[in-house]
């Protein structure tokens, strides 16, 4: 399988603290790749490095053979990497459909003036963006609440809306930061199916951070385990589960 994402000795320190230390691994096109580790292991920092929100201290990130390190977040997003956030960063004061439409930014092009005088091409584009947004909302099952403000959504709905927003970028790579946080068992179960579904439907590669071990084991093709900023192991779920270093670090020593 083709490698879509390649991390090469990526590191980041915050004033002496190595939040991410010399991490390297590859992600293949089309796989669902899990990233696990205890709180504070550096998982979210790694996501921030990949999406340009935090500059790397050293190391390289290649995406489809292209060097991404040093690019600002919006350029990385434009390359086709979408993400969600651990603490849910929706545009809370805007409606659900507006949230999704905003992510159509890079797929549209009308400038200020053509919007003000409302040129035909601009109107067509606007209509397309609108349709696309509703379509994605339908897909995540939120189309009946599309005009409501995002802040009025429940936890699970906000997580789904965030995924919808990321999908509107039409990414090839989707980074999900703890998508199941705050969900109950049945919601988590649904989520598993949903992630598989969008992977297939959008031909996505999915990289996800998750604490809920059963979900990760069940869903992911491969898993990387981080502890104290360092990569402990990468492998398929069965192998990872047996790895003593992982059990020690993550599940707690016997």
């Amino acid at each position: 399988m083709k490698t879509i994402l390649q991390l090469k000795t990526m590191s980041r320190n915050f004033g002496g603290l190595m939040a991410v230390n010399n991490v390297s691994f590859d992600v293949a096109e089309g796989e669902i790749f899990g990233l696990i580790g205890p709180n504070g292991a550096g998982k979210t920092t790694l996501f921030n490095l990949m999406t340009g929100l935090t500059p790397v201290s050293s190391g390289e990130l290649h995406y489809c053979g292209e060097l991404l390190t040093g690019l600002p977040p919006h350029k990385i997003a434009a390359k086709g990497i979408g993400r969600t956030f651990q603490n849910i960063r929706l545009f809370k004061g805007l409606s659900a459909v507006e949230n999704v439409k905003i992510a159509r930014h890079i797929k549209t092009s009308s400038g200020l003036w053509s919007s003000i005088i409302s040129t035909p091409s601009c109107r067509t584009e606007e209509k397309c963006a609108d349709e696309k947004a509703w379509e994605i909302l339908r897909l995540v099952g939120l189309s009946d609440r599309g005009t409501e403000l995002a802040e009025n959504f429940s936890y699970g709905e906000q997580r789904r809306l965030e995924i919808a927003r990321a999908l509107a970028l039409e990414p090839a790579l989707l980074l999900l930061d703890e998508p199941a946080a705050g969900m109950n068992s049945s919601e988590k179960h649904e989520l598993t199916g949903f992630i598989r579904q969008i992977r297939d439907q959008f031909k996505l590669t999915v990289l996800l951070i998750e604490h809920h071990v059963p979900l990760v084991m069940n869903l992911c093709d491969r898993i990387a385990v981080l502890n104290f900023g360092e990569l402990i192991t990468v492998g398929n779920p069965a192998d990872v589960q047996k790895n003593t270093a992982v059990i020690e670090a993550y599940l707690g020593g016997e």
Partner: protein
């Protein structure tokens, strides 16, 4: 009617003018940027108009184009404001929140001291005898009014446009917007420039309206006043600055019969308005509207 316009015409036009200035602060705020630079651009615009209108260097130009000198003044003021906004905005907009506000206040004050010292701006006295577009103050509604309508239309279209959505996204969450492919710097600067150009044009229109122009026109006090307009009016829709600018600029005049204590009352109104109308006048109106439609729906259901 005639008499009413004679008497209150100036005030009404002032209300429109102040609404426009409040709007000039609203555009950066739409993109989440608290910029208080408007008075600086307002002053710049006013000086542009006053200098083109009175300086002997421009006499041949004025004589050859006649009344067209006025739209030319607006154009030049707009262009100069845009250029200055780019120069100031690109470095300053890296700052956030109150820091940006303070940097823009500093910009306004530096510009003021500069204007106080230059010969071309007429020093402390400023520039007077600015050529008039209309005889009566009331008639100035024919320039400020259309500008207001244009800006309302502009805002209406902007809010529903790709650019407007980018502004809103940055206001809601700059990092998330960045991660969604929106270049924050570009749109923040754009919003800042739109506000600056508007303030510059309003300034250029105001120099004839006020007959004179001097360094007292763009000050820190004005910065804060415009901020109050937007916040008391409501910062979430274009109607906020419109209502806030109009009502707050009229307030001291409405309170005129109170004589000595009018500004005390004015201050109390500001305090109470910020406490009891946290979403501004526009917020109160939309709440009223919602409760009215809700009631009528309920009544309809019963019937």
């Amino acid at each position: 009617m005639e008499e009413f316009l004679q008497n209150s015409g100036f005030l009404i036009v002032t209300m429109v003018q102040q609404s426009l200035l409040a709007m000039s602060l609203y555009y950066p705020l739409m993109a989440g940027q608290l910029s208080l630079a408007s008075p600086g651009f307002y002053a710049l615009g006013g000086y542009t108009a006053a200098i083109i209108g009175t300086h002997e260097f421009f006499t041949p130009l004025r004589e050859s184009i006649g009344w067209l000198a006025f739209p030319l003044e607006w154009l030049v003021a707009g262009v100069l404001s845009a250029i200055l906004a780019l120069i100031v905005g690109i470095p300053a907009l890296r700052l956030r929140g109150i820091y940006l506000a303070l940097a823009t206040i500093a910009f306004v004050e530096i510009l003021r001291v500069l204007c106080l010292n230059l010969t071309i701006t007429g020093g402390a006295i400023g520039i007077f005898d600015v050529p008039q577009l209309f005889e009566s103050r009331w008639s100035y509604i024919w320039i400020f009014g259309p500008l207001l309508v244009m800006m309302l239309f502009f805002s209406y279209r902007l809010e529903k446009s790709r650019t407007g959505r980018a502004f809103q996204a940055i206001r809601e969450d700059e990092l998330a917007a960045d991660s969604m492919g929106i270049n924050p710097t570009r749109y923040k600067v754009l919003a800042f420039v739109i506000g600056a150009v508007l303030a510059g044009i309003v300034g250029a229109m105001s120099a004839p309206f006020l007959n004179t122009w001097n360094a007292r026109q763009g000050t820190f006090d004005a910065s804060i006043a415009y901020l109050a307009y937007v916040l008391i009016g409501g910062s979430r829709s274009i109607w906020g600055p419109l209502l806030g600018g109009a009502m707050l600029s009229a307030l001291p005049e409405v309170l005129r019969p109170l004589k000595d204590s009018r500004l005390i009352i004015n201050g109390l109104v500001l305090v109470f308005a910020s406490i009891y109308m946290p979403k501004g006048i526009a917020g109160v109106i939309s709440r009223l509207k919602r409760s009215l439609t809700w009631k009528s729906r309920k009544n309809g259901g019963e019937a």
